[in-house]
């Protein structure tokens, strides 16, 4: 269970920083810095750089991702930006444009 949830009709314009799981269903513009898992759910729109332990993208993401452990792009996801993580999973059906850096 995520401790922080940004609901589908919510827009956050700014920075979210936290040390607990974060689930985004709505819109986030700015920056996300998380110590834990960050999940951009299907239907979510994120225009922000994301930093987290594990980052899962199911929605639309424009921004750079730095995952300390793992980045996963799910089938319906759309990501534009650079990905940096030791492990990266891009599912069949995911759209991705950007550089990949797995050398952490």
């Amino acid at each position: 269970m995520a401790n922080t949830v940004i609901g589908s009709s919510i827009v956050v314009d700014g920075e979210i920083s936290g040390e607990e799981p974060l689930v985004i269903l709505g819109t986030v513009k700015g920056k996300v810095v998380a110590a834990g898992h960050v999940s951009v759910e299907a239907g979510a729109t994120v225009e922000a750089d994301i930093e987290g332990q594990n980052v899962t993208v199911g929605g639309k993401l424009t921004g750079n991702v730095t995952a300390r452990e793992r980045l996963e792009l799910r089938p319906e996801s759309k990501m534009i930006g650079n990905a940096k993580a030791p492990r990266i999973v891009v599912a069949d059906g995911a759209t991705f444009k950007g550089n990949v850096d797995m050398d952490v």
């Binding site: 995520a2 401790n3 922080t4 949830v5 940004i6 609901g7 589908s8 009709s9 919510i10 827009v11 956050v12 314009d13 700014g14 920075e15 979210i16 920083s17 936290g18 040390e19 607990e20 799981p21 974060l22 689930v23 269903l25 709505g26 700015g30 920056k31 810095v33 998380a34 110590a35 750089d49 930093e51």
Partner: protein, 202 residues
């Protein structure tokens, strides 16, 4: 996510603006601005330092900033609140600590006043984000000292905030909660419309 509710968790901090059409529960910290067509709950232990425009507000934590609530404001026993409140209904429990100006009359005027004040000051959250994204990203401690930009701006800001809906001067700096000008014999000075018509003798 069965219940339609946004939660800012205990270990999470948002700097900037949150707006939307669902309930928001803050358990962590929010600095900036909150605008909702629904309810805001500031839980015990939470800190909200923001101008707030919502339908209803329930506070058991700390809130610093000006609030407009079109339905109601409820300050529970553990609430610590500084700033102006505009709402047709205000409930304050014993134990709640509050300092500020209350307006239960013209909510729209108060809302316009808060909006113009917010427009006049630099968008707090965005500035901070821009600054911080230049620095190497680190997870800041939960209750970090406010960024320098905000502190400086606050120092430059005037100490007084014109009463909501009252006389306005060209406000620039961030809204600071009202200081209390000691109006000698404030009787009638703040009398609302309903008070005026009942002056007849018994």
């Amino acid at each position: 996510m069965a219940d339609k509710e946004t939660v800012i968790g205990v270990e999470t901090r948002v700097s900037g603006e949150i707006r939307g059409g669902e309930d928001l529960v803050v358990k962590g910290r929010v600095d900036g601005k909150i605008q909702l067509s629904h309810a805001l709950t500031v839980e015990k232990g939470a800190v909200v330092q923001a101008d707030v425009d919502v339908r209803s507000l329930v506070v058991s934590g700390t809130l610093v900033g000006n609030t407009v609530a079109s339905e109601s404001v409820r300050l529970l026993a553990s609430a610590r609140v500084v700033g102006d409140l505009a709402s047709p209904r205000l409930i304050m429990e014993a134990g709640a600590a509050y300092r500020g100006r209350v307006d239960m009359g013209d909510i729209e005027a108060a809302r316009a006043a808060v909006a113009s004040r917010a427009a006049a000051k630099p968008a707090v959250g965005r500035t901070e984000v821009a600054r911080e994204s230049l620095a190497p990203s680190r997870v800041p401690p939960r209750v970090a000292a406010p960024p320098k930009t905000a502190v400086l701006a606050a120092k430059a800001a005037p100490r007084f905030v014109a009463p909501a809906g009252g006389e306005k001067s060209g406000e620039t700096g961030p809204a600071s909660p009202p200081a209390f000008p000691r109006v000698a014999g404030a009787v009638g000075a703040v009398a609302p419309p309903w008070a005026k018509k009942k002056v007849r003798r018994r």
